[in-house]
Structures are given as structure tokens and as C-alpha cells.
């Protein structure tokens, strides 16, 4: 069974799917891709990367020094790619189900029928 992945994790893995990123780039892209919903703090990102590293979903992909500032790069591992794939399958299945059900929704809005019952009672 695929367990639900929290949204920050989902976006971190999604950003890394296209290649290695350093910390701040990850935060920026996750914010953009999520439409601003996921605005990670640096400390939160590093806690998440720590955990994902322990789970073997991401790996450190080298440090680079730019203007005397360390940039640590991360990449998605094969396990990480597979986890992300499983999440996508799960989310697609959810979306399909919701879409199908929404199509079967009765024509009369529920709130309107409730109001009718309310006035006749």
C-alpha cells in the first residue's frame, strides 16, 4: 500500500526529478511549482532532506564553493524516483475517482433541495 506523501516531500522529489539542485534552488522551485503553497524554510528543507537521505530517496551530489559560499547539491535516487512514481499513480487514481463521481452528481444542488425540505416542513 502506498502511504500518503506530505506535500513538501512531494515537491522536493518533483523538483529533483529533472536533475541535481542546491538548497535555495530547491526552495524556490518548490514554491513556484506548488503555486506558492509550499514555502519551505531552509531549516525545514534540511530536516526533510536529512530524513529523505536516511530513507534513501535523495542523496548528496557534491558540494561546490561559489564566492566563498558552500552550495550542497542533492539528487533523486532510483528509490526516490520509484516512490515519486508510486505517488503519481496514487494521485492519478484519486483524481480519476473524484472526477468520475463528480460527473454523477445530481442536477439539483443539494443545498437547494435541503432548503425546499426546510420550507415545507
Amino acid at each position: 500500500m502506498v502511504t500518503e506523501m506530505r506535500e513538501p516531500t512531494f515537491w522536493v522529489l518533483t523538483v529533483l526529478a529533472t536533475g541535481r539542485r542546491h538548497g535555495y534552488a530547491l526552495i524556490q522551485e518548490a514554491r513556484e511549482l506548488s503555486g506558492g503553497r509550499v514555502d519551505l524554510k531552509v531549516a525545514t528543507l534540511y530536516a526533510a532532506l536529512d530524513r529523505l537521505g536516511q530513507q534513501g530517496l535523495v542523496a548528496i551530489d557534491g558540494d561546490e564553493v561559489v564566492d566563498g559560499r558552500l552550495r550542497r547539491y542533492f539528487r533523486l535516487t532510483d528509490d526516490g524516483a520509484q516512490q515519486l512514481e508510486e505517488q503519481i499513480v496514487r494521485l492519478e487514481a484519486n483524481a480519476r475517482e473524484a472526477r468520475a463521481r463528480l460527473r454523477l452528481r445530481p442536477a439539483t444542488p443539494l443545498s437547494a433541495s435541503a432548503a425546499t425540505i426546510g420550507t415545507t416542513a
Partner: protein
């Protein structure tokens, strides 16, 4: 400019464990400075400061660490002991120094802490579990020392060693070598092994269901020499011999010899020990005994003692044994001071 910010971040990162800092400090400072530059900030913002404090504390105390099987085994043993301890100290309605809630012994605090540590360890919160185990050790030693000092109902030294020892094992970091753990366990077990007798006795005493089972019971062991060792079920400290000792003199057989055995009393029943002995030990006839003498000898208590606290338990004894009901309730007997006085009285009238 960037140096100043970097130094400030470095200071804040002290919330993180040293090991974590060695690996990540420069990288996280780099990312923080990248972010500040992008937002054209010359100083760390509050949100980042707070998240660094929170992140550091999390990394120190609740970051998921590998579950240690050894710690889990120790904590499951501690949980089993604690649950057993809850059952033997369960005595709702009893009130005296040392009772806590419905339990008769403050050591249950340690039990609660160790069980909580077990649950946390199962959830992968090994560090918090170890912290709780340390608190458990502190609580157990404090409770042991306080109850000894103030004469509360408290844990026996064995119980203190058992609880504190298990807590210590559970608190040791999982990095400690297996050999050291096993050695520590062996030491604790060696200290504990002389102890199982009382608990097995208590288990046996539980097999005879009695009305008002919830009332605190006393288990008195009467040796052939007439010495009586007493124990309140749930009270691990076995210093209560004097409390039942005087009553135990009543267990004599038909020839006037002392009938050895084990009798179980409900609290407040000490004064009826002759009847209880007769019923439980199968003593057909109870000979003259100390209680009887006390009954007969009540007038001999002496004018000097009338009105003193020593005289009161004697009245209770004779009142409950004889046809004249004095009417003192068992509450008086519960009072440690009264019990002490009555045993003093006993010594005064051999």
C-alpha cells in the same frame, strides 16, 4: 556584510547537535545566505531564526533515530514490570502518606514514565524515550529517598534498584556496545534475583478472591519461632513486621505452640488475627496469646499511660476481640503513628 550574517547563523546553529553541525553547517548557511541575498535582506529574519531553533531542538531530541532493539527489549521488560506493579499497588480508597491516586505507592510515577518511554521508542523517538527513562531513574530515586526519610509508603531498596536499573539500561545510548549492555543487565539482575519471593507470594495471595478485594491487604508470615514478617500487598518495603507482629502472637496451636504459616489480612483486620489464623492455618484452637493478655491486661496499662497515645490501640484490640465494642474504626489502625505506638505498647508488655 555576508560574514556578519554567516556568524549570526553560525551562533543560531548551536541549537543543533555538534555531529549534525559538522556535516551540514556550511551547507545550510550557504542556503540561508542565498535566500537572504535573493530577498535583499541584510539580517536574518525572525522566521528563519525560529525555524533554526525548532529545527535544532528537533534534531537533538525527536529526530527519528534508528530503533534500538536492545532498548526496546529493556523497555518492554520495564513496561511489564510497571504494569505488574500497578496491579499490586492498586488500592483505591486508601489514604495515607505515600499513596498516590488509587495506588498505594508513589513508585507508580516511575512506571508511568517508563511505559511512556516504551511507547515513544516504538514510535521511533529513541532520544525522547531515553530522556524519559532518565526522568524515571530520577523519580524512582527521589521517591525512594523521600519515603525513607518521611516514613511514607514507598518502594523497597530492591524496587528502587529494579526500576532505576531498568531505566538506566533504557537510557544508555544504543551506540554502547552489546557487551557493555549485557554486563550492565547482568549486574542489575544479580541485584534483583534475591527479590522474587515477595512478588510470587503476593501473586499467590491474589488467587484467593475476597470480598472487598480492593482493600489493601496484609500478608503475614509467621515463622515457627513466632516471628512475624508482615507485608502490605503493594507495599514493597517490608518494614511492617511490627504492624502485624503483635497480632501474629495470636496464632498458637492446640498445644500452645506457635502455628507457622502465612495468613492474609485485610487492612484493619489485624485485631482479628486469631480468627483469621484459625480459618487460614487450620489451627483448631487458639491458645492464650499476647492479644488475650492485652485484653485481660488492659487495666494494667497503667494510670500513667491512660490518655497517652499508647493506650488507645490497646483499647481497640480489646474492644474488637471482646464483647465490648469500643467502636474505634480501622482508620486509626491505618495511621502509621498509631501502628507504631501499638507495637511499642506490645514491647512494653511481653
Amino acid at each position: 556584510m555576508s560574514d556578519e550574517r554567516a556568524e549570526e547563523y553560525r551562533r543560531m546553529l548551536r541549537w543543533y547537535p555538534a555531529e549534525w553541525r559538522r556535516q551540514n553547517e556550511d551547507a545550510i548557511i550557504g542556503a540561508l545566505l542565498d535566500e537572504d541575498d535573493a530577498a535583499r535582506r541584510s539580517r536574518p529574519v525572525l522566521a528563519n531564526r525560529m525555524s533554526l531553533v525548532a529545527g535544532g531542538l528537533r534534531q537533538r531530541f525527536i529526530a527519528p533515530e534508528r530503533r534500538s532493539i536492545a532498548n526496546l527489549i529493556v523497555l518492554s521488560a520495564a513496561t511489564a514490570l510497571s504494569l505488574f506493579y500497578f496491579t499490586i499497588t492498586w488500592a483505591p480508597g486508601s489514604r495515607y502518606a505515600g499513596s498516590i491516586g488509587p495506588f498505594s505507592n508513589p513508585s507508580v510515577i516511575t512506571g508511568v514514565l517508563l511505559i511512556a518511554a516504551f511507547v515513544l521508542a516504538l514510535c521511533g523517538r529513541g532520544k525522547t524515550a531515553r530522556l524519559l527513562a532518565v526522568l524515571g531513574i530520577v523519580a524512582e530515586i527521589a521517591v525512594g529517598a523521600l519515603s525513607q526519610t518521611f516514613d511514607w509508603q514507598g518502594p523497597s531498596p530492591y524496587t528502587v534498584v529494579l526500576f532505576a536499573g531498568l531505566g538506566l539500561l533504557a537510557a544508555t545510548p544504543p551506540t554502547l556496545s552489546l557487551v557493555k549492555r549485557v554486563a550492565a543487565t547482568a549486574i542489575v539482575l544479580l541485584l534483583v534475583i534475591p527479590r522474587p519471593r515477595p512478588s510470587s507470594r503476593m501473586r499467590k495471595s491474589r488467587t484467593t478472591p475476597r470480598p472487598e478485594a480492593s482493600r489493601l491487604r496484609r500478608v503475614a508470615r509467621i515463622s515457627s519461632s513466632g516471628k512475624v514478617a508482615g507485608k502490605v500487598a503493594g507495599k514493597i518495603r517490608a518494614e511492617s513486621a511490627s504492624e502485624v507482629g503483635r497480632a501474629g502472637q495470636g496464632c498458637r496451636d492446640a498445644r500452645g505452640g506457635i502455628a507457622p504459616g502465612r495468613v492474609e489480612l485485610r487492612l484493619g483486620e489485624e485485631e482479628r488475627l486469631r480468627e483469621v489464623c484459625a480459618a487460614q492455618l487450620g489451627v483448631t484452637q487458639v491458645g492464650a496469646d499476647e492479644i488475650g493478655r492485652a485484653e485481660v491486661g488492659t487495666p494494667e496499662v497503667g494510670a500513667d499511660q491512660v490518655g497517652t497515645p499508647q493506650a488507645r490501640p490497646a483499647q481497640v484490640e480489646s474492644g474488637e476481640l471482646g464483647p465490648h465494642e469500643v467502636g474505634a474504626g480501622p482508620d486509626l489502625l491505618l495511621h502509621p503513628a498509631a501502628l507504631r505506638h501499638s507495637s511499642t505498647h506490645q514491647l512494653a508488655h511481653p
